[in-house]
Symmetry: C2
Subunit: 239 residues, 2 copies
């Protein structure tokens, strides 16, 4: 069994452990493992065709990041309580505001290539198009891509990394939000406001728009009924 290699996507870093890590993250994001579901080293190892050692390493990392939590035996996929979601959105709003501010500042200083700004606009358009097709997965992808682009435009690798952590922890959010017509209608407008602020090199405006956008997203998340019980969730360990 140990010769079978798993399909490791276009992730530059070598090593089975990292591949397992990426694979698990991907599965979480896809919702392939329900929150609360228990994960055993042996199972994952068999699934991915590696031994337990790299799996252990990957799980250790996920544990450190809070994507899985210690369970009775081994670990369980972390769920998101309402309170946790609230906290995450508060943090995210501040981080994304900072990202937008920094991007706008870089724009004002001429440190942003025109192509980068155009790419932001295109990303906004892509989200709009995806939302109109009502394809939840594609919309989430496009939305994440836009926010990632803004994060990159900020030019602060630590901020970018932190944002990634937060996004990963919130993950499927956007999928749920799309059912909300208010939200679906407002999202593009808010995106445009952020990009406009960046393009204008106006940090305050960009930051304000970004903060307002995430706060609105947080409210939409809260409204979405299925975010609380969380579809397909297995029984949740007490803590």
């Amino acid at each position: 069994m140990y010769t079978r290699r798993m399909a490791v996507s276009s992730d530059s870093q070598p090593g089975s452990a990292h591949a397992v890590y990426v694979a698990l993250r991907h599965r979480f994001a896809e919702g392939r493992y329900a929150p609360g579901q228990r994960l055993t080293e042996a199972t994952v190892a068999a699934d991915l065709g590696v031994s337990r050692t790299p799996v252990r390493e990957a799980i250790g990392r996920l544990l450190a990041e809070g994507l899985v939590v210690p369970a009775a035996r081994g670990v369980a996929v972390a769920a998101l309580t309402a309170a946790e979601a609230e906290h995450l959105f508060v943090l995210r709003a501040t981080l994304e505001a900072l990202a937008a501010e920094l991007a706008a500042t870089r724009q004002a200083r001429g440190q942003l290539a025109p192509a980068d700004i155009d790419a932001l606009d295109q990303a906004v358009d892509a989200v709009e198009a995806a939302v109109q097709t009502h394809d939840a997965h594609a919309s989430a992808q496009a939305n994440l891509a836009l926010h990632r682009a803004i994060g990159a435009a900020a030019g602060n690798p630590f901020l970018e990394d932190t944002l990634h952590r937060v996004w990963d922890r919130i993950a499927v959010t956007t999928v749920a939000n799309l059912d909300d017509p208010h939200w679906a209608g407002a999202i593009t407008e808010q995106h445009r406001a952020i990009v406009a602020g960046i393009r204008a090199g106006d940090p305050a405006a960009a930051g304000r728009a970004a903060k307002a956008h995430i706060e609105a997203a947080g409210r939409a998340y809260k409204r979405a009924p299925e975010n609380e019980p969380r579809a397909g969730a297995a029984k949740q360990p007490t803590r």
Copy 2:
């Protein structure tokens, strides 16, 4: 050799891997390993009296957190370039401002125990006392304790975790800063302004004070001459 247990400090979590992780972090913070120094699994394993497996796990986690970087063979203790420090301080300023805001908000809502606020004041006094003794290590400890207390008062575990990451990455900063007389003189005043804002339940004031404080700390860091070459640093791998 495998029966010898290392002295694991008062860290609740079990497991050699975690103990190794904590031990390495501690050594980094102490400056026992110079930035740029190369670490091999076997060496660390021998040092701590465990096998390579838990060491691998710990190093993997440190790698994920950026505290060590991939080196020629294995990993090296991460150094901090001037640009990286700048980025970290920008992020830190925003995060600590948010923490102070949230703490003040909680205070305004009566969600903070009077004892918590008093503890903040005492922490400020402790920093002042430590700075006056010119004990760099104690000062750094006390300063970190204060900032940690503010982070805790914010009541947002994700923010707290993110702050910890940033602090760990900056680590020895305060030690260097204490040589700066301007900074040593201003630090207590700035600390008091933050705590005053929190006590008053004034998020805007607390946030502003915190942001200004960290920005000042960043400037002090930048001025400190020894932060650039970094004492005792072994040869630094190219990237």
